[in-house]
């Protein structure tokens, strides 16, 4: 299980949470198509920033 997690997520704790948050945001904003895609992208870019700030492995 640990090796599978390392394979798919590179042992990051932030990225699966960030993706889950982005999916929730996308689902919540699905009725506002002009905002939903932008908000989805913004959460994913914030996830990249947060994962880059994790301790180096």
């Amino acid at each position: 299980m640990k090796r599978f997690y390392a394979f798919v997520a590179g042992n990051s704790r932030v990225t699966p949470l960030g993706i889950a948050a982005a999916v929730l945001v996308a689902l919540a904003l699905r009725r506002s198509p002009e905002w939903a895609a932008g908000a989805y992208l913004a959460v994913l870019i914030a996830t990249l920033a947060a994962s880059a700030l994790e301790p180096v492995r």
Partner: protein, 238 residues
């Protein structure tokens, strides 16, 4: 999506993984003999082809397209984050650059400590299988998004493997001058862009300019990656 983009992305990803696998195979070849190194490589490649050939059609036939786009998009996002943040850390000086010569020497030391043929076979087999598995998954995800893309994505991966194998045969030395980090940065940006695009489509979101939004995503992730590399850079002591 242009099939050339799929080809370029899988070519770059495959080239990087093949460089790492070639280092391990060369270490096994020089210490335990080329017969064991090449037979282990052949078995691992056969396993990878079988995985890609089985997984692709199964996904296409049995999983609804919207669900498939979400699943493959999330896989690409996870892989993309791993590639891009590693590249960011290396550009920022927080993680050491990969040194193929050092990896080669470490593998040779380990192999000399174990004299068994089985150990040498397992080292080469695992090296090729583990490095190739991610490429196989990436090829399958491109194929799953659009059936006609499979051959292009697979061609990119195979062409890179052939180029690296040919170069390894000619040079007979680990690759130490390849800009691995810049290539890793590009692969990370491409995987994140495709992952974002497809997962959003699967979730029912609409991009503001159709397929053209991919270019915006590539630019956004590249800029974010470059900015983070700069922000995280360790100050140089005078």
């Amino acid at each position: 999506m242009s099939p050339w983009i799929a080809l370029g992305t899988t070519f770059t990803a495959s080239a990087l993984e093949c460089v790492e696998a070639a280092t391990i195979v060369m270490a096994v070849g020089y210490t335990a003999g080329w017969r064991v190194a090449l037979s282990a490589t052949a078995w691992a490649l056969a396993a990878l082809v079988a995985i890609a050939a089985l997984l692709g059609p199964v996904l296409l036939l049995y999983v609804p397209i919207a669900a498939l786009k979400i699943v493959i998009g999330i896989f690409l996002l996870l892989f993309g984050y791993t590639w891009l943040r590693k590249a960011i850390w290396r550009f920022a000086g927080r993680k050491s650059l990969r040194d193929e010569n050092a990896t080669f020497e470490k593998e040779v030391r380990d192999l000399r400590a174990h004299h068994e043929r089985r150990y040498a076979f397992a080292t080469a087999f695992n090296g090729v299988l583990v490095e190739g598995l991610e490429v196989a998954v990436i090829v399958v995800t491109f194929a799953a998004e659009r059936a006609g893309t499979f051959l292009w994505a697979a061609a990119g991966a195979v062409a890179a493997a052939a180029a690296v194998a040919g170069s390894a045969f000619v040079l007979r030395h680990p690759f130490s001058r390849i800009p691995e980090n810049a290539m890793g940065f590009i692969v990370g940006v491409m995987l994140l862009s495709f992952g974002t695009f497809w997962s959003a489509e699967g979730l029912g979101l609409q991009w503001w300019s159709g397929d053209g939004a991919l270019l915006t995503l590539v630019a956004a992730y590249a800029l974010a990656g470059a900015a983070l590399s700069g922000l995280l850079r360790k100050p140089v002591r005078a």
